[in-house]
């Protein structure tokens, strides 16, 4: 017992592993079974982008320089960014709208917290479930990229894990942000953040296109790191920078989990 208790004290409890948060995932899956078609709308969006912009604009752009003195079609350049965006979208929809509904209206967590589960379990369970939804989107997207020949490197086997990391970071921060929302109108802000992230994170063209000040700004935002990481993997241009992108997302996720747990405690356990 005491030999187990020590590492728990050193590392913040539950930073790794899900603990009792698993139970909340079971609950969410039970609900999702009944509305299995909902995620389809979410996955449709990046697919439409890939087919319209990737292929349409790709016609105008023609082949562009790829890794190792090869050339690639434009869709192969855009697809990893859309993969990153779909991982983000799935995670954010779940961790904002759905979590808010459960927190403020359905009072799901009030009941959960009268059982052995604690605030940190609620945060971890819900973040993990949002991560699952993001992963589900990403998996479909990866399969499509494979079918269209957009995975040109063996590194691409890590594209899905990288997408999961993106989902984790956005789920955690999404849930943390949701605990501060005062009403549904605040969700307009979510859209206001997501859209520029999607458009500016080197989704459709490289960072070098921007003036220096905008490059610096973009380099601070999370989806940029997600896109860069996934693109490095699917195009096989992996360097030390990839580790930096991954580290950014890990730190973002951990901060989100810590803030979300603390906020659930403040809101529900007064």
């Amino acid at each position: 017992m005491s030999s187990r208790a020590l590492p728990v004290r050193v590392v913040p409890p539950g930073m790794f592993g899900l603990g009792r948060g698993r139970r909340l995932i079971e609950r969410d899956l039970l609900v999702a079974r009944r509305v299995w078609w909902v995620p389809l709308s979410g996955i449709a969006e990046p697919v439409f982008y890939l087919l319209s912009i990737g292929i349409g604009i790709g016609k105008l752009v023609g082949r562009i320089p790829g890794p190792h003195h090869t050339t690639i079609v434009y869709a192969t350049y855009v697809a990893p960014a859309l993969l990153a965006a779909s991982a983000m979208n799935g995670a954010v929809y779940e961790s904002t709208f759905n979590v808010y509904f459960k927190l403020k209206y359905a009072k799901i967590f009030d009941a959960v917290l009268s059982t052995p589960l604690e605030a940190v379990d609620v945060a971890r369970g819900e973040i993990a479930y949002a991560l699952l939804r993001g992963t589900f989107y990403a998996a479909i997207f990866v399969a499509m990229m494979a079918a269209l020949g957009d995975l040109v490197s063996v590194w691409a086997v890590l594209a899905l894990p990288a997408a999961m990391l993106i989902s984790f970071a956005f789920s955690a921060v999404g849930m943390a942000a949701t605990t501060y929302m005062r009403g549904w109108t605040d969700f307009d802000l979510v859209q206001l953040v997501l859209l520029p992230l999607f458009l500016f994170s080197t989704t459709f063209y490289p960072l070098s296109t921007y003036p220096r000040w905008l490059q610096l700004a973009v380099e601070c935002t999370p989806l940029f790191h997600g896109v860069s990481l996934v693109r490095a993997l699917t195009l096989g241009q992996v360097g030390p920078a990839a580790a930096g992108h991954a580290a950014y997302l890990v730190v973002m996720g951990v901060i989100g989990v810590v803030v979300a747990s603390r906020r659930v405690r403040v809101l529900l356990l007064e």
Binding site: R23, E26, V31, K107, I108, A111, L113, S114, T115, P116
Partner: protein, 314 residues
């Protein structure tokens, strides 16, 4: 630890900003007991219950639940409690059965064991026929029964019920009482809050009356009636606006040892007495001719109103 109270509170306090919702209360609950918190709105009953349930940290004082400290051992304590909150918080996106299932899983009950328990609980709550329907359209009474069934899924040592029957019709209330008797007979310790005096008299072995965050009185329903009320109460009705004048004429009753005190209400006079018939005879001897006369037993309601305020004339 045998003999240790299941709940032990000394100087237990809860503050919200400058408001002292629970103000240094002392009480303890022993195993197998049915213990009640009575009190008007805002007395601090739910705040006390939430501290016991280890979902609301105390602001001061000592509290031990099942021999443990809720601040430190919250998950362990909650694992052995059943909680029926004041407002139902069922999972409306799930069916009746799924509600029990999901909640049971929060306690890590193995699936197979849980399925068996769920069948028993559905039967207990008389919800077997609605088991696979969604919860949302169920009636208030059914939802309440389901909430109680849900609170039993972990076979708790201690059941906390915050106003279990508020908002239910008489049939549903009696059905719930019946369920609670059965639990009590099985040895489950019950702690409940209520606004209904008949409920407290029926269910509680011992209770405290709370007011303004403090405990105003404590004892068994019988003992409280003995201490704060009389064996019987005579209710006299006079014509409109005559109560005050008649009360003045009745003051002699106290001197004659027939009545302990008289209370004037807008529509009637209450004569507190240990001998209702003697008091009625004394009133008749004064030829006051009330419109109606009713002799009844002193109840917890009389105690409650005396302790938590209503204008009194001793």
């Amino acid at each position: 630890m045998p003999g240790e109270p299941l709940i032990y509170a000394r100087g237990l306090t809860k503050t919200f900003g400058s408001l002292r919702a629970v103000d240094a209360v002392d009480f303890s609950v022993t195993r197998g007991e049915a213990f009640g918190f009575l009190g008007p709105n805002g007395a601090g009953k739910s705040s006390t219950m939430r501290m016991i349930a280890a979902v609301s940290p105390r602001s001061g004082g000592d509290l031990r639940v099942l021999g443990l400290d809720p601040d430190r051992d919250g998950p362990t304590i909650r694992g052995r409690l059943g909680v029926v909150p004041q407002e139902d918080n069922l999972d409306l996106e799930l069916t009746v059965r799924e509600n029990l299932y999901v909640y049971g899983r929060y306690f890590d009950i193995p699936r197979r064991e849980l399925r068996a328990r769920i069948e028993r609980l559905l039967d207990f709550a008389q919800l077997s026929e609605r088991a696979d329907e969604r919860v949302e359209p169920l009636s208030g009474g059914m939802k309440r029964r389901l909430t109680i069934a849900r609170s039993l899924v972990n076979e708790p040592d201690l059941l906390l019920l915050d106003e279990p029957t508020t908002g239910l019709d008489p049939q549903a209330r009696h059905a719930l009482w019946d369920r609670l008797y059965r639990l009590k007979a099985e040895g489950v310790t019950l702690v409940l809050t209520t606004h209904y005096m008949d409920e407290a008299e029926q269910l509680c072995d011992r209770l405290v009356v709370m007011e303004g965050g403090r405990i105003a009185a404590e004892g068994s329903p019988r003992a409280l009636i003995g201490r704060y009320c009389t064996r019987e109460v005579v209710e006299l009705r006079f014509g409109p606006g005559e109560s005050e004048r008649m009360a003045a004429k009745l003051t002699g009753l106290g001197g004659a040892g027939v009545s302990e005190r008289i209370e004037v209400l807008p529509d009637r006079l209450l004569v507190y007495t240990d001998e209702g018939d003697a008091a009625v005879a004394a009133v008749e001897a004064l030829r006051l001719e009330p419109v109606s006369v009713l002799v009844r037993r002193g109840t917890l309601e009389d105690v409650f109103l005396r302790l938590t305020g209503r204008h009194l004339v001793d």
